[in-house]
Symmetry: C5
Subunit: 374 residues, 5 copies
């Protein structure tokens, strides 16, 4: 019943930040998963994908192939020492590592000395109709891309297959292309989530026409807020890509910019979609409220028709239930006191008259259009 | 009854994009039509328009007249090999060809090395009151304009006639003028669609005053969304033209810019129209909702008048239906128990009194203004 | 009753544009008036105002006085040949002449080679409470101002008198000042139209408080749209003037800019007024809707008071209309069956009791504040 | 009752402008007051404040002390000749003098040749709950500040006292500081007006909770418009100050800019306050409308409870008011026809049953929460 | 009951400003606390924190360690002489000291000659559900940070502990880092206040679903205004930080900018949160209003069902309460006058018929869905 509070959970982690702690301190949540370490190394001819249980082994494998391109993939943050070693090895600023671990950052990009730090959000539309968004933090180096995420599962397997299959440009182009490919897949995953959201909106609309109930409005308003939430993610996502597009050609080669321009177009399409959904949910709210009024109208009409027909009739039969006496207690006769009661056809006539009243009323309602089912 | 979901169809194709596919891969829908190839070649004196069943023949015809201007017109995408050959022959970037085929792009323009890639949308207002928008992708080259569209039918026949008739500047001016003429015709076609939309809005309004029903509101809200949809198409259309206006004079000769400025003005007029329609639909929504309230008011008034007249009368006749007994069971007389019942004119007096009550009530309602048909 | 459609007429001409016609083609409406030609020629000492039936004579008169300043004033477009000759004589671009004739253009300015093309709109508030806007197209040349308008009547007679009377700077200053004066008078005419609109808004408000009816809301909403329409005209009008202010001093002498700055201030005042009216109409809508609710409330109160007083009373008299029998059919006596009916003061007591109930109820309503006329 | 029209008065003067008059012509209203002339002259050691009945005397006094700083203060515009002489003596452009006299100008600043023309508005919150705004026009010269206002009373006496008392920087700093001080006092006077407005808003809110009536809504909406009106004054006031801040240091010495920055901060605070009041009035509107609904709800509940209790009871007593006959006219006995009527405890039993029905109903309403006063 | 006025208190101090006072005059409130003076001095090895009762002693201690970094912390403004001495000693401009003391300033930053004056607001969410905001004014010098606040209690103790503990960069880095650390802690304290606000919003929502009452709406609207108030604080807070980020590297070393960028990100997160809460409160308003309608609907349904069942039944029993007489007063028999009354099973049949009517009605309501508890 109370669907709104749940929707605030995702932001809870922000609200629980520890006040006044040293900037750059790693505030690792006790529920953080034990990190799993993956290394995908490849060049045009060669490909190797391994999981390492030991960070030293990973670094050794990485250093052994200085000519190749590497994707170092860390899933789970539950090891402070590991993260601190990586900060040293990959020259990550403490504030950036804090951003990685705090796990709620708007999509953003930071650039320094030919290296980029990019935060993206991977969204899914959960079965309880919420947008769930996980953070993907990405660092680029000369020959590596380093990604961090909090869960073991992600949406990038399809990309790993593509690298493995050696299809396309990904094996030939510089490591920046790998960063592009990751961002592209992350953003592509917004579309199915949006599609599920659209289906849910249609379900709500069906429900609105078939079987509206009290919870419906708060479901619609919840959906509206999820839509707004996506909007708040997609906007900075677009700005982020735009910032890449404006970087100089040394940082991002001109040829790659065409690809980022493609992501940019997708962001704009997403924003169109999001705005479309916003209007849909607004329409649904309007329809819901007018539905409530229409049903009230219908109830009132039934009441009014029944009352308008039977209240006058009740009056009539009340008249002939009066006890005006034909006979005077003094023995005289009052012939004007309800002589109708003594007519041979009085009762039948009255029934007929009442039938006429009913027919007249029904005709009146018909003319008013109250009998049609609108 | 459920008019909203249908309005989302046009965007479905976006939502069905395949996640994680290689960028620039041509994701040709199985329903795509077999391409038909048209070539219109002309210079100031000469004109030829042919359909080719074979791409090689087309290319040969095109290459035979290097001095002329050509409009190569491809309708239907259902041949991957053809498209890949054209990418090579006309130096089209894979991402651009992907934009052509994916068939849902916002209007945009990309410029590179004196060549332009322009995406426009051709809209029609369908009989089921939706905006249907098809994509027209246009590439300019030194002596050709290359267009792609998904359907065999388009709105450009009038332009083909103009070229054939040799009327006007189109046969004399550089090939960029042909591109302008195509964009102009595409945008001119927005106006009849808008006019149909306006007529539909008037129909809805008539309906609102004559015969409002439950579906009306969702029809109004649907129309509103179609209006917003056009708005989302016209805005980038304007930006696109604006970008052309800001290009340097080598790319777009100064003389041509006057013509593009004309298209720009049309875009601005379209946006005025769209905003006009948005307000109209908002007004309609307000009117609909106030209509619902007014009808409820009317229903309540009927109920109240009937009740207010007959409930007191029923009470009165109820009084004289009581059985207070003039005769005491012990044989005495209770002269105060309802002596009215025994008056010779009691019944008639009472009927007269009730008539006065009715007249008084009706006068009261008249004074309140409830009897007028407001 | 259907007041909205009428408000769309002015835009109809846009919607009826012929699709795909050659750019710059003059699409003269068959209803266009036969052009009347006026020439006002003057310098500091000399003044002459003539109407010509023949264009050649006009040109001759114009060419005879190359030192003077001229205002060539064409009213009505119904002569294609004439317009085409003028395009040649005054070097008007076909697209500009198309803008003149098509007669629906947003206020705009185009500048080229020390010549300006300015489109303004002259508005009047018609008796049927619409904003009627006619186009005034103005070209400036070295020693002339050339204006086009569709009707014979305009709002510039006062300016013609000023030129004739030789009052003020108009006879001394360069011809650009004449252009300024025309624009100034056109804009000054917005204020009386706005004043009439304001009076109409007050009438509607009076009506709202005195005698609200169903049409009132659509009248308010219509007014709102007229207000928005003016807003859409005043905004580009302001931009237009702003563009003039930003032109270099050769085009518009610095001294003249002070005057244009004055028009700019008027535009800003107009926009304040327009925003003021928008809020007024919004308030009126709110008041109307709350009025509907209040009247419903009043109706409900009457119903509730009547029902609450008489339904319990009807129950009471119903009780004493029951036929419980004091005499057992077996001949015994049931003294508990409605002994009240046989009391000597039963009836009177009951009437008194019911009077008390009524008094109590009325007091209850009084305490609730329902009897006051809120 | 009709509170809105009154609120439009202040803008009437704009609407009554004479159309087509010569630009820069002084359109002095016949109600304009006879000008009173004041001169405050001072330098660091010396101070003199005089009122002059004759303009020549004033000018003489002004010219006698070329080293001092002067504040020439003209109150009332009712002397065209005087104004025209001042235009010459102080080199005021006719259009600027027109702005002074027309008396409705948005706050603005014009700068030319080291002289400034500043228009400010002095607001008061009148007892009839309107914002009254008078114009203060200010010209700066090398050694003087020249102000114009339409009324004899203003809010600057406190500043005159400060000059007289010789307190602070005002006697030492350049004349631009005097201009600053005037603008500062004018703006400081917005705060008490805002405070009164806030108190009035609280009164309206009290009224809303204690004793809502029909006029309340239009009072709230009127207040809203006054708030918007202030907003429209404060915005350009801020822009004006901002323009001063961006002037070069020769015009406004760097040291003075700190002071103007202080006024700027006050403008921003005013805008915060205005936005706060806008939300307050919006909240009040919402509360009013929900109040109307709640009262309707309450009325409906009373009706429903009374009806729901008594309609079934009336039915029951109606049953026992039927005349089904135990005795057959043919003399037989129909023992099934209403035997209850003949039971010794029939009547008492029925009364008890009805009491139970009432208790049950009341309990049902209690469970529904309808008896609590929500 | 009247919750709105209270929310305006915080702004009262602005409204009570003394009009026309000398700029830069210290308008110390009589309730201002006696200043307490704190000095925290430290360098990399050394740390000392003392409270001084005498300003001279503090200055002596401060001057004794010119190599160290100092945080001079003044709490309470109730000593004009002290403040004036500090203005001289620390070269504070009178207008800035006025800003410190007036205690209502939007967050802002002023920079001059390598010194900064920063105004921040420390917010808390009070138990009566208001946002309470106190001002922290901060001056930076070469080797000191000087802060002013009105209360003895603040939220910076955690930072004092950090300095004392010598943890982190704070003891090593330049004094600008101390300023950063203070701003960071102040902003970190917004998050718990926001969290409490979020919990309160959830409480209101619970209340809305469980036990809505009249005050609820004004509580929701109050919350909305608190949210807007925070928004008005966070916006300039962000602008302030942004201004620091744009300062040149001499003023704020590049290395420090990374830290300020971190605060900037927090501001953006706060704004996201605030926007989230705004939507929540809007949803709550919508839900409240639809709740009112739904309850009205429910009330109407009960009334309609009771009326629709019993009004026809009452009519029926009324029919058989009529007194049409079988016996003619002249002694004849009228066999058509209500023969039903004399049937042996008349009464039972009628009861059965009425039972059928009830069943039919209930079935009708069931089909309409009125019996379900929607």
């Amino acid at each position: 019943m109370q669907t709104i509070p749940a929707s605030k959970q995702p932001t809870k982690s922000i609200l629980e930040r520890t006040v006044g702690q040293k900037p750059g301190s790693l505030n690792i949540s006790p529920e953080a998963l034990v990190p799993r370490l993956f290394l995908v190394s490849f060049d045009e001819e060669w490909y190797e994908a391994r999981e390492f249980s030991d960070y030293d082994e990973l670094m050794e494998a990485y250093r052994e192939a200085p000519e190749a391109r590497h994707w170092i993939d860390v899933r789970g943050y539950g090891n402070r020492e590991l993260l601190e070693r990586m900060m040293v090895d990959f020259q990550i600023h403490p504030l950036q590592m804090e951003d990685v671990v705090n796990d709620y950052q708007r999509p953003k990009i930071e650039e320094e000395r030919n290296r980029m730090f990019i935060v993206s959000r991977m969204i899914t539309f959960t079965p309880d109709k919420k947008i769930d968004d996980d953070q993907l933090s990405l660092f680029t180096g000369e020959n590596y891309v380093l990604t961090f995420q909090s869960d073991y599962e992600d949406c990038l397997d399809i990309l790993r297959e593509r690298i493995k299959g050696g299809k396309g440009a990904i094996r030939r182009k510089p490591v920046m292309y790998l960063a592009y490919a990751i961002l592209d897949v992350v953003l592509d995953n917004y579309f199915p989530a949006m599609a599920q959201m659209g289906e849910y909106a249609e379900d709500l609309e069906d429900c609105l026409f078939r079987n509206p109930n009290k919870e419906l409005l708060s479901q619609i308003l919840d959906l509206k807020r999820e839509v707004v939430k996506i909007r708040r993610i997609v906007w900075p996502e677009r700005d982020k890509i735009n910032e890449i597009l404006r970087m100089d050609d040394q940082m991002v080669p001109h040829e790659l910019k065409l690809y980022f321009k493609d992501i940019y177009d997708h962001c704009v399409q997403l924003m169109d979609l999001v705005d479309n959904y916003r209007e849909t949910t607004s329409s649904l709210t309007d329809l819901y409220l007018s539905n409530v009024s229409n049903r009230m109208n219908e109830v009132m009409k039934v009441l009014t028709m029944i009352s308008t027909i039977f209240i006058p009739l009740s009056f009539i039969v009340g008249v002939y239930g009066m006890n005006f006496s034909r006979e005077d207690p003094e023995g005289g006769i009052n012939p004007l006191n309800m002589p109708e009661l003594y007519q041979p056809y009085g009762y039948v006539t009255l029934l007929g008259f009442m039938a006429l009243v009913v027919i007249g009323m029904v005709y009146y309602f018909y003319r008013k259009g109250w009998l049609t089912k609108d």
